[in-house]
């Protein structure tokens, strides 16, 4: 089907966006459940989701030929995150990062693979915006319990939050995971999808 000449998004494009958003969301929830079970892993969750979801998302990004589809995916993703009660940050950051990603894809005329990997890594940062909630939520909760536990306890706790780098580190790990995942996705794409004629 050669419909790349048409300007706006067609129904087919919208259906494709829905399909890959569904895959993305299911993958995201599953991987974060697996990582979330082990407490130390919870902070590496962003890295692993970005890494593994690189495969479907690179397939998606390779199919994209028009402006707007990345934006739709991350808007729908963010809206669903709100409806699931996980938090609103994924919508705000997701939309901003998706816009940047759209511009990057457009700059490569939707052909350049390396730029697609870069665009995917940037959207990863946005999609993991809810990580803010984990850090802030933990702080709030501990502050609440500290109120009943006395000053000494409070000092110990606030000591841990002197590590200001935790939040940036989470986002950087998402970005690196996105880059790695993108390159793995590219390899898988070459090995499986192009050969079987899906792309």
């Amino acid at each position: 089907m050669n419909r790349t000449q048409t300007k706006g998004l067609t129904g087919k494009d919208l259906m494709t966006a829905g399909l890959f958003t569904a895959v993305y969301l299911v993958g995201y929830v599953l991987i974060s459940c697996i990582c979330g079970m082990v407490p130390l892993m919870a902070m590496t969750m962003q890295f692993f989701t970005s890494l593994i979801l690189g495969i479907p998302m690179m397939l998606y990004f390779a199919k994209i030929k028009k402006f707007g589809m990345v934006l739709i995916t991350y808007t729908a993703n963010g809206l669903l995150m709100i409806l699931l009660g996980i938090g609103a940050y994924a919508l705000v950051f997701g939309v901003i990062c998706a816009l940047i990603a759209e511009c990057i894809l457009k700059a490569g005329k939707y052909r350049s693979f390396n730029l697609a990997v870069l665009a995917y890594a940037i959207t990863c940062i946005g999609a993991n915006g809810n990580a803010i909630l984990w850090v802030v939520g933990s702080e709030e909760y501990l502050a609440k319990t500290a109120a009943s536990m006395g000053q000494e306890y409070l000092n110990t706790v606030t000591g841990y939050f002197a590590h200001w780098w935790v939040l940036p580190a989470v986002f950087v790990s998402a970005f690196i995971g996105g880059l790695l995942g993108g390159f793995i996705g590219k390899k898988v794409l070459r090995k499986h999808f192009v050969r079987s004629g899906i792309l």
């Binding site: 067609t10 259906m15 966006a17 895959v23 407490p39 669903l80 009660g85 909760y141 319990t145 899906i198």
Partner: protein
């Protein structure tokens, strides 16, 4: 025809509610549980709101689901508070944030579950159309919901096939990615192509508004829901401004 459509109401399957009022209820619960500070009067409001999903699940006849939800919520509300003072701060730092945030999520997730159970895709699109939400949002979202069961189905079929060949188990992550994830994507992409072809022949791309026979419209149960949501929001604002 016009009068028939005007006279029909949302039935028992839709919980006698319009999708829009269900969405409103869902959003209210989410805003309160996520943004509410949980102090003063909001403490009680929050408890009331967390009872709402139980009532709806019971009305739907899903006794086990409501019992499960109630037990989970009670556990998440009490146990961390009891245990936290006795644990070292490191453990608290790792665990409590996760637990605190998950506790907030439980009522909101249940409300969302309720919304999905009682609303068909057609009703959802019709309601969104009445609210003038553009097609670029409704079509991807509804096709997304169409795909969730398909993903589960295809994934279990592929798991069975790969188990027979003794490969792609979770013990070898790279193999699992290659022999379970990639085939899943392939079959999903081809299913997606078929589906979009079938949707196009049924006029997805057609200009003009989509028509439907869904029973939409506000009746007295919707009024109740809106009064309830309004009351909760007013309480929320009052507690924010006056700090009670």
């Amino acid at each position: 025809m016009e009068t028939v459509l005007r006279n029909t109401r949302p039935g028992r399957k839709q919980m006698f509610l319009d999708p829009r009022s269900k969405l409103m209820l869902c959003l209210t619960v989410i805003i309160i549980t996520l943004a509410g500070s949980g102090t003063g009067i909001m403490k009680y409001v929050r408890v009331v709101l967390s009872v709402v999903p139980i009532i709806f699940f019971l009305l739907l006849g899903k006794t086990w689901l409501s019992a499960y939800y109630a037990a989970l919520y009670a556990f998440a509300m009490t146990v961390p508070d009891l245990i936290a003072p006795y644990l070292p701060p490191v453990v608290n730092l790792l665990f409590t944030g996760v637990i605190a945030v998950s506790t907030q999520m439980i009522p909101a997730m249940s409300m969302f579950c309720f919304l999905v159970i009682t609303t068909s895709v057609s009703e959802f699109i019709a309601a969104m159309d009445r609210m003038h939400v553009p097609k670029v949002i409704t079509v991807p979202v509804s096709s997304m919901f169409r795909f969730f069961p398909t993903i589960a189905e295809e994934s279990s079929a592929i798991r069975d096939a790969m188990r027979q060949r003794k490969t792609g188990s979770i013990k070898k992550p790279m193999e699992m990615l290659e022999y379970r994830f990639v085939p899943l994507l392939m079959s999903l992409v081809s299913i997606g192509n078929d589906l979009s072809a079938s949707a196009l022949t049924r006029g997805l791309d057609a200009p003009g508004r989509r028509t439907n026979v869904c029973m939409l419209g506000f009746h007295w149960p919707d009024t109740l829901v809106f009064v309830f949501c309004g009351a909760v929001m007013v309480l929320f604002c009052v507690s924010l401004i006056f700090g009670i």
